[in-house]
Symmetry: C3
């Protein structure tokens, strides 16, 4: 029974020393770097009482913790349960989906705290972290989870850790260029998280192209209950997306508005997904793959514009379009990308993150370019786009141009970075499985052993376990 | 294998043009109506800085977003994961349970934002929406999810959308009568959500009575893992119910109190449910149907009274009674309703929502009637029942009378509305399945195809898929 | 088929009168005691407007509800979904895991509100409860859920209720000694919840030692999907642990800091767990038991120190160590404890709660002893350890000594209490199952009946159910 697999594993997939070594060395590196660099933000430091006096705050409720912690927890759930369970749809890769997502995200948030910290929270030689840093670290890791979706089932845990190391680094650089150099708004990350993460992952999976992948085709589908597990992921992503897009927006109206816009876009997206899922199938039946994924495209596509005055009906339109684009993508584009461009995209991130991310960037650019003092109010206009200091004289249309530039930069970073990282992951030292063992937990996990006799036993409690 | 089903589907259940048409047209209608009517509430609008000055607010934390957003997200989870997964208990209707609930709720919240907006948030020709509107829209849809429970497995997605359209409309009218005309308190919706939603659904299922439903009896049960999926729904409903009942209460003590009362009622309800579940069964074993449902009755039954001074022990008493009533209902009433009154109530909403909803209305009326300035304090008394303006002279006992009237109105609306909508849904154009295909996902969903060989393959990885 | 089980049940496990009687009588007792003692805290009482004036609060947002309710809900999810689903890993004990956890927690929170109320919130003859009491009640029940993990599958629901009654009582006494008499800090409960709860449970399971437990060995494992259900529990515990450790910390920096420290410790813990899970297994494969449990040890071990200035890198170090200790424990210690000391620890709570709890107590003692005014600031130092009133002169190193004493007291309480309660549970009147029926839901639950034909039917819809 185990013959073909063991053969593969003996050659490649033995993790016993490689995985522990990477995990332990990297975690030691994290400890050292945290020891040198990371301290508490004043709002999380025991000197907060003094800080309060200095900032003239009258109440502990003004601590940023109370503005952002509920959103942080929602985002946290999206990263670990949302992405983790969304990927359990494969019949025999549930452990890998949830478990490797857990591993890479746990490492990634630490490395992101450092990378983003050096760029954004570095003061007198120390990175000062508070709840907003935790959210940003989760965001950064979100882009890795997205890329993971493209290569799900085809890579070893070490490859995932290596990819995380590089992708988080590149994410931080790209984010710095967009937010600080281009002064672009992207609170929900249509560009920095989705466009960058998805195209990065697509390039990586292209480079890791496996010509014989149809050998494991029987494992690329779902079973009834694995589709239900995946719906747990889908629903948590869908429900908490308003928190995601509003989590790091400005206090007050911006956070409030971002949540409402996202809620609207997601609602519309469900209806057009259902419509096209049924319409594009001869028998007119709904396809769980679409429901699990395309319903979320509306959240991706307002990631830049949600905190702007996109308005509820504007959000509905965006969601309407994205449900269609994404579902059509699953039906026509994914097979095309695989057969013609050799892009094997396990979860279809091109449909859920890449195209909607691009749309989101464009929507953001248009919404910014169309902004007026009339709509935002004089103060609101300046606050919404942070037109202060050296950006005092920037106009809405110029801002729109910079937003568009942000899309291009994100794409370039994704292609360059994905190529580099794909090449690294192609080295034959990382322990990935042979094509016939892809999408199979048994390669890296202890899977409950006597499935057969168990199942047998469940159905016939009194008969002996081995017939 | 597919013969009897295909026969049915060829006649009835082909969705390819009907479902997409309804979804797309209705979503376009939503976009137009939102475009004409819906704008941001001042607290979500970019003019918030000016609003703050006008309202004399010193901090962004005073934005209603921070008072209500965490509760909103809990309610959101209840609607989509709570109701969705609670209904996955059927062995072969998990896709329909989670998926159709997702569809109808996504449409319903949009329509509810409009309907409730016209009644409650209409200013100078525009509906101004903020986080409280999102909660109210979720609430409104909650009543549709309840009604869905009665007809689960027996209706097409189009029927569900049609029902949602009408039920949301009627809900908004009923809510307007209760809250605005009768000036009734019902923060957690014992009357507006549960009593109305449940009796509405029961009337609909009565009208849609299927005499040959025993033809699909083998699919009306659960399997081991479907019962565990359903417990995900149960627990999220149970845990977040304190947020549900407090989500739109007045800031401060009312919200705080509503959460505590609900927590107490739910805790007591679990014990009496377990007690009666064991007691009413010959072998004394616990029944998952009761644990999944009756444990929640305590939350339903304090939906009106939770924000009043019901007190923790009062809440325990309510929960104690409802656990019993609901469990007894499952054992004795549901079979009776089906065999004698031809009410086929798939999820037993009569036991979980109808009876506890009525009890909740009565408890609210009594608690209101018994209110005194002594217990509430002079200010607290006025604030709790909003005895200001034209209601300045209303006394507690009069309020109790109006609360009771609210129950009657909700029942009348449910019966009249349910009859109307049931008659509409009975038209032979909506594509519902034949009796022998009820409770079967295969009718409307692409179900993972080669279940048998998959399952086979899982147990014997090396044997060929087809024996 | 049912022969051996029925034999056992006829003798022992018939719950029909015993379980209802206990549930109903105890719930009546709760109602009476709540009626006599429990009222609303001023912040949840309708007199809040007057309270606000007295406390000089300008806004409703200062109500403790808004500081703590989001954390409360996260803790609530951990108790009911977290612990409940973590224990569903057994192939045939999912109903018991989720259901009995639900039962004991629902009773336990009521009794905890009373017990903790008498010790901590008793004013003029009444227990005044608010959101902080709800959190503390959940905490207290958490220690019972932990102990349940040791005896999972081997006890009747009545035994669990009896254990809950006693354990909650002893928890409240121990907590009073630590927090009030020793003036110890333990916001996340490394000592009061984990050390106490785990050693209590281990002593109980030692006393209930079943020499013939290998008779049900075939049911002690997992199946593929039961491991995925368990991961739902794991992830919710992991994600919300920062809320757990910060839920009752002081407003402001302490709550903020506790969340960050816990986040860091948990992240590090995942990497060392993965490393050692792979390293300690010949084939180098990951073991779901470790991923499900040891990844959480980092949260346990900063339960005391998280609100102190443990610092992010300090937290990483603690998490690093605990992932290793816990995983090594699962591989080497659990089998040793079972074979040599006759401690049958179903979920391995010794590795997840006992050892990390001890480490947490020690880390807390060291962190307290090392505290200086330099690090905390003058005000911060006093506030962090509450060195006011009679504790005005206590120094950091003295505090460290008292913290250490807290560990010892918790251990003594656990051993003495566990012995007493174990002896009570050994009485042959509680209806526990025979050894061959352990880990089997069928003993106390109505399990979906014709599993075999169902499964058969699922795979071959058109063939008759009985071959």
């Amino acid at each position: 029974m185990e013959r073909p697999r063991h053969q593969g594993m003996a050659k490649n997939t033995y993790m016993r020393w490689r995985l522990p070594l990477v995990c332990l060395l990297w975690e030691v590196a994290m400890i050292i770097l945290f020891g040198v660099f990371v301290r508490f933000d004043p709002e999380a430091d025991a000197h907060w009482e003094e800080e309060k006096r200095e900032m003239n705050l009258t109440s502990d409720i003004e601590n940023d913790f109370y503005f952002r912690y509920p959103s942080f927890q929602d985002v946290h759930v999206m990263i670990f349960v949302g992405f983790g369970f969304l990927m359990t749809f494969l019949k025999r890769y549930g452990f890998g989906a949830v478990g490797f997502n857990f591993l890479l995200a746990a490492f990634g948030i630490q490395w992101a705290l450092l990378m983003q910290g050096w760029f954004h929270s570095f003061k007198s030689g120390k990175i000062l972290i508070g709840v907003e840093n935790l959210i940003n670290a989760d965001f950064c890791v979100g882009s890795v989870c997205i890329a993971f979706g493209a290569i799900l089932g085809k890579t070893s845990p070490i490859q995932l850790l290596v990819m995380t190391l590089f992708q988080v680094t590149l994410f931080a650089v790209n984010e710095y260029i967009l937010l600080n150099l281009l002064h672009v708004k992207d609170a929900g990350g249509s560009m920095t998280i989705h466009t960058f993460g998805a195209y990065f992952g697509l390039v990586v999976t292209r480079i890791l192209y496996r010509p014989n992948l149809e050998q494991s085709k029987d494992k690329q589908g779902s079973v009834y209950h694995s589709d239900l597990f995946a719906m747990i992921g889908t629903l948590y992503l869908w429900m908490y997306w308003p928190s995601f897009n509003s989590a790091i927006s400005e206090h007050g109206d911006a956070q409030h508005r971002a949540a409402i816009n996202t809620y609207c876009s997601l609602a519309a997206c469900v209806l057009t997904t259902m419509a096209f899922s049924s319409m594009l199938q001869k028998k007119g039946k709904l396809d769980m793959v679409h429901i699990q994924n395309a319903t979320l495209a509306g959240g991706v596509a307002v990631g830049t514009g949600a905190e702007m005055m996109l308005t509820p009906y504007g959000s509905l339109i965006v969601g309407f379009i994205c449900g269609i684009v994404s579902t059509v993508g699953y039906v026509y584009l994914t097979p095309f990308l695989e057969s013609r461009l050799h892009i094997q995209d396990t979860c279809g991130i091109h449909n859920l993150h890449a195209m909607p991310g691009l749309i989101g960037g464009i929507v953001g650019a248009i919404t910014a370019a169309a902004a007026t003092e009339d709509v935002y109010g004089k103060e609101g206009f300046i606050k919404a786009f942070d037109f202060t200091g050296m950006y005092q004289t920037r106009t809405a249309s110029v801002q729109g141009g910079f937003q568009a530039a942000g899309i291009v930069v994100s794409l370039l970073m994704a292609f360059a970075g994905g190529t580099l990282v794909g090449a690294i992951l192609k080295l034959p030292v990382w322990g990935d499985a042979a094509a016939e063992n892809c999408f199979e937990d048994d390669v890296y996990w202890e899977v409950p052993e006597d499935e057969e006799s168990d199942a047998y036993h469940m159905h016939n409690p009194d008969k002996p376990a081995s017939p």
